[in-house]
Symmetry: C2
Subunit: 378 residues, 2 copies
């Protein structure tokens, strides 16, 4: 029993942490529950039940499957589901009509053949990158609806009645999902992407601002490792930047579906964020290599270090400040004018450094310079 | 019309490329089509249709939704769907029975309340990392089935009959999927993971083997950029290693579900592959930084370069060979004995280098040494 209690406490703690990390998760759960309860009650009350028939089950199914965390993802699934159902339904009815002309014996063979060909083609099409990113769910629903309709064995007039009911219930479910997801505490994939990219750059900036001091700390403290350990988190922050590629790409895909909101218009240039993301990650890769120097046993001689200390520190600090300005500019959606000043400072520091000596951290600035033009485009 | 023709040719070319890159995609498409056609015909023929009722639609639905590219993913979905449907069905019947005791008026309120609470809890639970990785689909199906059953408005005896039919059709669909996916040209997620990890290490090895020569090429050729450009692909290969984290993690999750096959037992230590993956990626980050030196304007003086050339080249070459041995050892699942020799060579080269001077590429070997222990564990 003590074991169970400990486990329960642990789960409670985890739950609290997950909720605290992103409170929108709690609102999301409540939103899904609200949508499903609304649809369920629609379904439960007899008057509506009689109107829609048992296909109102599709409304429940739609809500459960379609409601996603961000508005973009929900819209993506709703649109795909709606269009695919409509298209596949129409084709299915057509296929059913045509094959029925072949008579009792030919019909199942022809239908089976059609289902086989269409399924194979559609499944294969899911491997195309563009289709995978934007229409994968639609292709799935297309296969599903087509095979359901075409082999249902009903006559055409019955099918049309069924298809009409099913489509309207799906649209009812989808509409409820879209309304709740857009108007009740919306979570925009685009906004998340925007913040992620800006925060990533800020993390890099903190690293750079701190790196100079950290690297030359050995010089100042000698070997005493008694420095306060409290403020080292900035040196680790960049690590989360290394693996954000997949997240960025899926958010950019979802953001494509979102209507204009706040400062973002419909079809905001989301792809540019991906480009910034690539450059940011490249920068982070370099930092990963740089941070090794801090813990490395291979240390240059103190005299050499003292020589390069001043320009190196300045370069690192100013580059960091420039990146921070960029991050702020992205957040405020303005042009990063003040970053230029820091960048110029950083460049003079580099020339200083070059004149004194070539140092291990020389490439920090070269890729910083690479990053600037892309960011100013946004 | 010329435009359409050009587009058609382009699509045909793309199709061919996607099929050629991985021919298993074609077999996969055919397998899905086969499974769906089989189930559809089951559904179409009257005798079976009369037996299962219209809920045999669920067999078609199951096949479309459940059949995935790898065996592991298919099993994951089948298992989750089966268990979740069973559990939610049982609970739903129970909820229906209990709330029916509350009378005409209390029933819809109590049911709506129950659906709301359960949906909110389940949706929130999907944010837990462990549940997300292994049971997310099951939770979705659980919510779906529970709300369908509990608000269906039927009486308990009718529900049990329906649930029985539905469960058996789902199991029929899932069984067909599992049989086809395991016995017809199976695609094992575990095997893919194994090969991915081994190939990634091999790519790093090729980079290292070539890097030494490339870096000091400037020395030998002077500034003549007329070198043959044909064999530079090894310098780019490591780039694909940088972003394989998500793929590795999902494959490891799917591999967890797979039964033993070939050299892999059931519950093979897939997690160790992830650890190797992390180290491999760390290595690749360093290479990304290193490769900058090749294109960098900041070049050391030729005299300095000449001094360090010999040990640096040797170190890079031997480290590369050691990595290649490791990759081969993983592929053959043996202990990498011969790698030790190369590693020793590389280490002597490092001491040689240290005695001559500290060089920019000094850290290549330090992280190589880090990688060895983890790989030998596997």
């Amino acid at each position: 029993p003590g074991n169970i209690k400990a486990k329960a406490v642990e789960i409670a703690k985890k739950t609290k942490k997950i909720g605290k990390d992103d409170p929108r998760r709690i609102t999301h759960s409540l939103k899904v529950a609200l949508a499903l309860t609304l649809v369920s009650l629609f379904y439960y009350f007899k008057p509506l039940y009689d109107g829609f028939g048992s296909s109102s089950m599709w409304a429940v199914l739609t809500v459960v499957v379609v409601f996603e965390f961000t508005v973009g993802a929900t819209l993506y699934k709703c649109m795909n589901r709606g269009f695919a159902t409509f298209l596949a339904g129409t084709l299915g009815v057509g296929a059913n009509y045509l094959t029925s002309l072949l008579g009792e014996e030919g019909e199942p063979i022809a239908l089976g053949f059609l289902v086989f060909i269409l399924t194979a083609t559609c499944t294969f099409s899911r491997f195309f990158p563009t289709i995978k990113a934007r229409y994968e769910y639609g292709v799935l629903i297309f296969i599903l609806t087509f095979s359901l309709v075409s082999v249902s064995g009903y006559r055409v007039d019955k099918i049309i009645e069924l298809a009409h009911q099913r489509l309207s219930t799906i649209m009812l479910g989808a509409a409820i999902c879209m309304i709740i997801s857009i108007f009740v505490c919306p979570v925009w994939a685009g906004e998340d992407l925007h913040n992620l990219v800006a925060n990533n750059i800020e993390k890099l900036a903190s690293f750079l601002e701190g790196f100079g001091g950290e690297y030359f700390r050995v010089l100042e403290d000698g070997d005493s490792d008694m420095v306060t350990k409290k403020d080292k988190s900035f040196l680790q922050g960049y690590k989360t930047v290394l693996n954000t590629k997949t997240t960025e790409e899926s958010w950019a895909n979802f953001a494509w579906w979102e209507p204009g909101h706040g400062n973002f218009g419909f079809h905001h240039p989301w792809k540019l964020y991906l480009q910034i993301g690539v450059l940011t990650r490249k920068c982070a890769f370099h930092f990963e290599a740089l941070s090794c120097y801090i813990h490395s046993d291979i240390q240059a001689t103190p005299e050499f270090l003292r020589k390069i200390q001043e320009p190196c520190k300045k370069m690192s600090l100013e580059s960091g400040k420039a990146l921070k300005e960029l991050s702020l500019a992205i957040k405020a959606m303005t042009h990063p004018f003040s970053a230029d000043a820091h960048l110029a400072n950083s460049k003079t520091a580099i020339t200083d450094l070059k004149t004194s000596l070539e140092a291990a951290s020389g490439e920090t600035s070269t890729d910083l310079i690479k990053i600037i033009p892309a960011v100013t485009v946004a």
